[in-house]
Amino acid sequence: MEAPRVEQVPELMLTTPFRVRKNRRETVDTRTLELVPAGESKMPAWRPGQFMMLYVFGRGEIPISICGDPEESSVLFHTVRAVGPLSTAICDAKAGSSIGVRGPFGSAWPAEFYEGHDVVLVAGGIGLAPLRPALYRIMSNRRRYARVSLLIGSRTPDILLYPREMAAWRKRDIDIRLTVDAAAPRWKDSVGPVTVLIPRVELEPSRTVAFIVGPEIMMRFVVQALAQRGIPLSRLFVSMERNMKCAAGFCGHCQLGPAFICKDGPVFPYSQLEPWLAIRNL
């Protein structure tokens, strides 16, 4: 699951200008940008789970997962949450403006290695964005997988991501279950942490793989709940985040124990990370 070597990435630290084709508001602080290559720029090939370094001219870069359909080869989709000056600037980028793109970087969701398995996708908050490309890939090859479920945890119903797409996903035989931290009685699904959905999913533990993205605390509890159902940690894949500057394994910022999140991850089997995550402030 290694990222491509430098020969396939034109210039490692050179940003490519892209144009914002559309800036769609998802929630009060989250936007989805549709980016197309500007001028002579080329669309890079990418795999579900990978990320780009998105660039605001003269300000800097941040790592953002690609969240579009892998079959869509002419547009790059990124869902971004405004939490700092760079992400806010990216969320504010109007249609027609330029955003720089560098990448793709990182490891991919290993869906193709688990054909014939039950697949459980667990998304917390904006974690649904990095999982969406894996979901599209699975839906395009739906018959190759057994039961596929998507468990989504959100703070409240009104900030669920991609709600309008879920009906279409359900039609592709994806069992979608939702839960929120609190809701008004209009809400008809569950209220509680996303872990409450796990005991209710039908799966065969010896042939189940799970892809999990969300805040680290959430991922830890989800892994526990899935492990309690008998799924080994080597088949529970998480997507990790750390401070990144170069995204290529040189700057040293993203290390977690011996792993560089940018090139050994961000997708990891939990078994690889477990001893390191157990140490505080590592």
């Binding site: 908050g125 009685p185 509680g192």
Partner: protein, 155 residues
């Protein structure tokens, strides 16, 4: 009627591996109930002499706030239980419990249950252990909700 309750309890995950004679004892305190969607199973402040084993359907646990209206803080599905206020005085519900869809449940009379646990402490201890496990999980869930994990990170 009691025998029906007993077999229903044998199917319910909370009671499934409870000793059969304990189940028979407890069944004496239970009765079948049915709620339409939107109906309250319990109301805040009402005397709490019931605890429910939900068989089918989803129920919400709600708190009512003046400015924000009713807020669901937790949902409970078929196979789960709801209600702890019957355990200790003043025996009053501290939340609303509402059927979110059609709900079938077994309701247990609290006074009857307390009595049976007092008279057979060995059974009582087993019963309380099961209860404790459920509420331990609920507390863990509540803590995760409390952390507001998906909220805006601090600057």
């Amino acid at each position: 009627m009691q025998k029906d309750i007993e077999s229903l309890l044998a199917e319910h995950p909370f009671f499934r591996d409870f000793a059969p004679d304990y189940r028979a004892l407890i069944a004496g305190c239970g009765k079948n109930t049915h709620f339409d969607s939107g109906q309250l199973l319990a109301r805040t402040g009402d005397s709490a002499n019931l605890f429910f084993a939900i068989r089918h359907g989803r129920a919400s646990i709600e708190i009512h706030s003046p400015e924000r209206g009713p807020l669901i803080v937790q949902t409970v599905d078929g196979g789960e239980i709801v209600g702890w206020s019957w355990l200790f005085p003043p025996y009053r519900w501290t939340f609303d419990v509402r059927a979110m869809e059609e709900v079938r449940a077994i309701s247990f009379d609290g006074e009857c249950l307390r009595g049976k646990c007092d008279r057979d402490p060995v059974m009582g201890y087993d019963f309380m252990k099961r209860f404790a496990r459920v509420f331990m999980q609920r507390l863990e869930n509540t803590r995760l909700q409390l952390l507001d994990l998906y909220g805006s990170p601090a600057r």
